[in-house]
Amino acid sequence: MVNYIDLTIQILVAIGVTALGFAIGMLFNGIARKITARIQNRVGPPIYQGYIDVLKLFTKKTNISHGWIFDLAALFSVAGIALAFLFLPVAGVSLLSGEGDLFLILYLLAIPALGFALGAGASGNPNAAVGIMRALMTMLAYELPLVMVIIAMMVYYDTTSLAVIVQKQANMHWAIFIPVFFIGALVADMALQGMLMEKPFDIPIAPHEIATGPMVEFGGKHLGALMLYKMMGIVVETTLFVDLFLGGGVILSVSQFGWLAYVVNFIVWFLLILFVFFIALLINAVFPRFRIEQALKFYWKYDALVGLLILIWIFVGVTP
């Protein structure tokens, strides 16, 4: 018998957390632009610029569509990224993450990407197609070191569930304090740079070369949806990193401290993802852009080599 009250509460919490995620995403967008501006000695837009932009795009009068496949992009990208967020443990709160695992999350992340790619392809602009090609290749590049580290962790913790990995890191037994996973965190951080499409891996959007690539034909609410996707993507990807290496931001146990623990954990989680994003921003601000094959070589030659060392380390260390 399904407990409807619990279910309702869960749904409400899910909606709340998703909304929070989008809100944080938009905030991060503003922060990013501000920080980049300051590094480049500009004033920059206000920190709430992300909210303004999204609101503006969604209230535009003229919305141009290139057909129903084009429209799918907007639907799939927003829905998909929210779906991926629901399956992540956020600050120790596992919404749906008990119902799926890390592999599911990796593949859920592909839903918005593919939806986005569908729309971009349907727009018929060659720049968009080239952008998607670059995005997919970047994805192929950074996934190899990333999955190497993730698999090393899965074998080490003997689980594939992200929620369990977070649980096992409770009481400050964070993975990053284990030497091998400290190196792993560095490898994964490089991969994260590509995931976030920040320099030197902003090859897919590359405004100077292919006019923001995939997004070139989007406008109005379609572009708004894509912006939401990109902003939420930052939150999802940094949260994934924090869950893997920084114990999901959990520092107080809920059973001991009650509601206070939730509040503290959420704040810590927020600070941690901000910190991770901040590192990405710093790298972004000072590096030029790679070419696509350089990115592939960087990830597969250097990053993956370290990843391979980690795998060997675990292979030797863990007896089946």
Partner: protein, 617 residues
């Protein structure tokens, strides 16, 4: 009833073959014949502990059948494993025939005849209970494929298929003979094998023979040629259905005849039999290399061929690991691949039917012209790329779980990266064929081509929602190998490592879609013509649409990076072996100088040698 089935099939072959001038009639007759195996499947459902309502079981097939050939006996009997693979083949086959009815405009009698023969062969293979029966039906299936390849008329396809077919047949035959020498019997059930090296050699030979049909590297060379140069409905059945028979054979011999415990007795590595471990490594390599090669193709059929090779590699990984989890995953992958690859090849056929083109760089923009074909292939592509809104994900997930459970630290990243690589080539299909600038003013594919495609999409959706039903299907198979099915409910699967709840995923996705839809409906929109985008309504006269559609050399940077490592492929290796054979050949031919004096000298020399032998004696 089985006698009758075989007789009907053989008569169908003759009738359909003689109706070469009337393709539609031949197709309809073939379609009715092709339904028989499915009825047989329904009547045998009790093998899988499924009770079907009686109106679905109007034909009663006997569960075992024998036919005395004098020296040997053909023994057919339904087993759970056979039932499962028969499910795949017998449900795919009528759909492929249905598709062909409108696909062929002329000269199709031979096609239907050979197709019926392949199905007859597969039917026998799946039911065979001894090696003689197995081999006979295997080869019937094999050469009827050859007949279909010959219809394609490509030199490389014919030569490579027949050569590799013979290689596979001979490997299998040699293995069978070793087993016969060891046990003195051909019947599977009467074999009592031990852990001797002879049995190991036999099973290695047999498995490598089946690997040819399953297109495992480096035995895959024939597949791209055959897939890209034959008629599309046949390729759909070959890739979707017949390639599974190789894995059926591997599974039958590895786990049915030899058994897991015996496999383990030849040494284990980290808890996995060494034999299985090497199969898994070969499978992972195949999955990766097949994917990379698929990304580089421009011919739609070649792309799908390499993608098939890659996706079949996953089945080999599952069969290699050999835990209940892995076997379930392998079977699930087999099921998914059957349906999604068939849909994709049929869609390629429909596209060809309408446009007459196979080159991705020459197609484009068909998504709006052929929306139902596009949507069916989109579903298939989601399944191929293991996006969690089709059942494709559950299979891959099971395989990943199995690999992690056995701590396959180096194989799993390769599997995952091959999965990511799949995104690359599926997008090439999506963009190159269906998206981008519309370049052809064509109609949607005919209804008799759309119906089979959409029927084949159905299982992908059903098993998305209820993967537990699938696990139920595997239970009797695993029981035969003294294993138990993995813990599950209709919509959740549990492993020792994690849990996968499809209902949660589906409802959450529906929820988020509703959320996105509300956002999306917030403002009205206007649809503009395709020209009204960056071209501002004025396509430049200077360029034609080809330059607007960026699908030519789409992954050029990728090719630049990977091509050097893949240019000397397996094909080159086999060519060298063949060339070495031909050196011997020309040596042998030099013996026949054509000069009668030389021949007389041979006789004299032979006489002298004989006399020498006589003197020694």
């Amino acid at each position: 009833m089985i006698t009758l089935t075989i007789a009907i099939f053989l008569m169908g072959v003759i009738v359909v073959g003689l109706l070469n001038k009337y393709p539609k009639t031949a197709g309809i007759i073939a379609f009715f014949v092709s339904l028989i195996p499915f009825f047989a499947l329904l009547s045998w459902s009790s093998v899988m502990n499924i009770t079907l309502p009686s109106y679905l079981q109007f034909l009663n097939f006997e569960t075992s059948w024998q036919y005395n050939l004098g020296p040997g006996t053909l023994i057919l009997q339904i087993t759970p494993l056979g039932w499962f693979f028969l499910l795949l083949l017998s449900s795919l086959f009528p759909m492929v025939i249905l598709f062909s009815i409108s696909y062929f405009r002329s000269n199709a009698g031979g096609f239907y005849a050979a197709m019926l023969l392949t199905m007859l062969g597969s039917f026998g293979i799946l039911l065979a209970q001894d090696m003689l029966t197995f081999y006979i039906f295997w080869e019937i299936m094999s050469w009827s494929i050859l007949a279909l390849v010959i219809r394609g008329g490509d030199r490389k396809a014919i030569v490579s298929y027949l050569s590799f077919g013979a290689l596979s047949a001979m490997l299998i035959l040699f293995g069978f003979m070793l087993l016969y020498f060891k046990t003195g019997t051909f019947v599977f059930a009467e074999m009592h094998l031990d852990a001797s090296n002879l049995v190991l050699a036999a099973i290695t030979l047999i498995v490598s023979g089946f690997a040819v049909k399953g297109a495992l590297m480096p035995m895959h060379v024939w597949a791209p040629h055959v897939y890209s140069k034959s008629e599309e409905p046949f390729v759909a059945f070959l890739s979707g259905g017949l390639s599974k028979l190789g894995y059926f054979g591997i599974m039958l011999f590895m786990y049915g005849v030899v058994g897991f415990s015996l496999l383990s007795s030849w040494g284990t590595f980290r808890g996995v039999p060494l034999f299985g471990y090497s199969l898994a490594v070969v499978g992972a390599f195949t999955a990766f290399a097949g994917t990379v090669l698929a990304v580089m193709q421009d011919d739609l059929r070649k792309l799908l061929a390499y993608s098939s090779i890659g996706q079949l590699g996953y089945i080999a990984i599952g069969l290699g690991i050999g835990t209940p989890l892995a076997l379930t995953g392998a079977l699930f992958q087999a099921l998914n691949h059957t349906f999604f690859k068939a849909v994709l090849f049929l869609a390629a056929g429909a596209v060809y039917y309408r446009t007459g083109k196979y080159k991705i760089s020459e197609l484009g923009g068909l998504g709006y012209k052929m929306p139902f074909t596009f949507l069916a292939s989109l579903f298939a592509i989601f399944a191929l790329a293991a996006i969690p809104i089709t059942s494709g994900f559950a299979a891959k997930w099971l395989l990943y779980e199995a690999a992690i459970e056995k701590k396959f630290l180096f194989v799993t990243p390769i599997m995952l990266i091959a999965g990511v690589g799949a995104f690359l080539y599926v997008y090439k299909i999506l963009y190159g064929v269906f998206l981008g600038e519309p370049r052809y003013n064509v109609k949607e594919a005919p209804l008799s081509q759309l119906v089979p495609m959409w029927i084949l999409v159905l299982p992908l959706i059903i098993f998305l929602i209820f993967p537990g039903w699938f696990v139920d299907l595997t239970a009797p198979i695993l029981q035969g190998y003294e294993m138990t099915a993995i813990p599950h409910t209709p919509y959740t699967i549990n492993t020792s490592l994690a849990k996968y709840n499809t209902l949660a995923v589906i409802f959450a996705f529906i929820g988020t879609l509703i959320f996105a839809f509300i956002l999306y409906l917030s403002k009205p929109q206007e649809k503009v013509d395709h020209m009204d985008n960056y071209l501002a309504g004025e396509p430049p006269e200077l360029y034609d649409y080809i330059s607007m559609h960026a699908s030519s050399k789409y992954y050029e940077p990728f090719e630049e990076v990977f091509y050097p490592y893949f240019k000397r492929g397996a094909e080159r290796m086999w060519e060298i072996i063949l060339a070495a054979g031909e050196v011997f050949g020309s040596g042998a031919r030099k013996i026949y100088t054509g000069i009668v004096g030389d021949y007389s000298i041979y006789i004299l020399l032979f006489f002298l040698i004989m006399v020498g032998w006589w003197l020694l004696w």
